[in-house]
Amino acid sequence: MAELIATRTGGARHAFAVYRRSLAAHFRSIVEYPADFWVMASAGALWQTLQFAFLAILFANVSAIAGWGYHEMLVLVGFLTLGGATTAVFWDGVWSIGSMVIKGDIDYRITRPAPVIVQVASLHVGMQAFGELSLGTVMLVYGWVGAGLSPTLIPLALLMLACAVVIETAVLTALCAVNFWVKGTMSVFAFLVNDLQQDVLRFPLGIYPAAVRLVAMFVIPLAFVSFVPVEVLTGRASDWWAFGPPIAAAATAAAAILVVRAGLRSYDSAGH
């Protein structure tokens, strides 16, 4: 048993080392082309600035959305932004699964001594995320202070933010892995869900019909990325809901692993 644990620990360490070196190589390539970096980072920052402006304009005209005030909404959008942006920095390569399956590029990864998904995910860095991370943090902190949330909640917020990143990463990975079966260069399902998440979950779930709330909580549990954490932090939901994000993170991670494994088993390379 001890030998098995040691082997698995060694494997995980090796996989992380490969991931770290691969990602570092991409960070170095970013430095080589600073114009692209600044265009992408500025685009990300612009998106978030306009998001900020949108909320400011909205709250200049209304006092609350489904009972949520301006600062609480900023915390909500902050969680949503940071969850997505962190995933874009550290796991953006999964968007390439579709094109790699079509071109047969997975072949090369299968022959290397590291998990395929780790190699693929570290192939790319979403440079727009640097702008999003900055503005997302500003919104979260500004909203946090404005909403009068206690500093004692920071450890809980960080834990739920970590869970948010795991959920985002897992859902994105599983949806991109659908391209193992549904062939196409674009990860259509991931793109759709990601876009709908940005449209729907930047507002409190209370404004939607029950069916939307159920889907966001229990079918594709993206509500645990932003909505549930902020409900817990602002005291709208009971403390028991704080267990929701870790459970959703574990469940989505397990589902993503199963989908990727099944996808790799069904992978039959290209050209036939």
Binding site: V39, M40, A41, A43, L46, L58, N61, D195, D199, F203
Partner: protein, 265 residues
């Protein structure tokens, strides 16, 4: 230069057929645009209730959001990546040797690809109409002028997209440029939040840009927020922007094309 209307038509048809070949795009556009429209309907229903916001009651807002869905579906559907890829891959070097006007050819392809989403947009509007029964246009003339203003979305979308894509002569990627353009278009057009709710300086800035003509102009005419003279003035502004963007594109291209370097020989 032997660029004729027949060439434009042929390029537009090829582009349209290329888009129609991928049926998934239809579903894709309607789920994306429809999802966004439904989220917005839920939001504004919650905010407006029985009252008004920025002069919009719930009836007017329903019409506003459905018009916004229609024009956004058209505006975001053009073949921008195809133009960007030609520049980034260097294919433009081959284009320059052809007896075809580069800008006109890309415009024809762009309009052709936009036409491919008209059925999707119409289907979405019919569905939304049946579900939410928004009010009709304030008068038949307003309805007609709204349709004319929506037609301007085609050249305006091309003009803005083309100008932004030309930035690819200086960058290695297009994605960031596309995001920036879409963010500005979404915000200053009134797709995200009606301009009437913005503070006065921001409204003035918006109206100094071509973006409001994607959503605010058609909905203003449709809902009777401007009279006939005002509507004709807005249509004139759309025409003016179409001309400015077209010749602006020519001007920028003239300078940008000097960045093309052909290797080998």
């Amino acid at each position: 230069m032997t660029h004729t209307w027949a060439v434009d038509r042929a390029l537009a048809v090829v582009s349209l057929k290329r888009r129609l070949a991928y049926k998934a795009n239809w579903v894709f556009a309607i789920v994306l645009g429809g999802g966004s429209m439904l989220a917005n309907l839920a939001l504004w229903h919650n905010l407006i209730g029985e009252g008004t916001l920025g002069g919009y009651d719930w009836d007017a807002m329903r019409a506003y959001l459905i018009i916004s869905f229609f024009t956004a579906t058209l505006a975001f559907s053009g073949s921008d990546w195809e133009i960007a890829d030609r520049i980034l891959d260097g294919l433009i070097a081959v284009d320059l040797t052809k007896p075809v006007d580069f800008q006109r050819a890309r415009a024809a392809e762009f309009i052709g690809s936009m036409l491919s989403t008209v059925p999707t947009a119409v289907l979405g509007v019919v569905g939304a109409w049946l579900l939410f029964s928004p009010p009709g246009p304030v008068s038949p003339l307003a309805g007609l002028l709204t349709a004319v203003s929506v037609l301007f979305v085609f050249p305006l979308a091309f003009g803005i997209t083309y100008l932004s894509v030309l930035v690819c002569f200086w960058t290695r990627r297009y994605l960031g440029i596309m995001w920036a353009r879409e963010a500005l278009l979404g915000f200053f057009s009134g797709m995200l939040v009606p301009l009437a709710l913005m503070p006065a300086p921001l409204q003035a800035l918006s109206w100094a840009l071509p973006f409001p003509h994607f959503t605010t102009t058609p909905s203003h005419i449709y809902l009777g927020r401007v009279d006939t003279a005002g509507a004709l003035g807005l249509l004139a502004a759309e025409l003016a922007w179409t001309v400015v963007l077209w010749f602006g594109g020519r001007l920028v291209f003239k300078h940008a094309v000097k960045k093309v370097t052909v290797h080998g020989g």
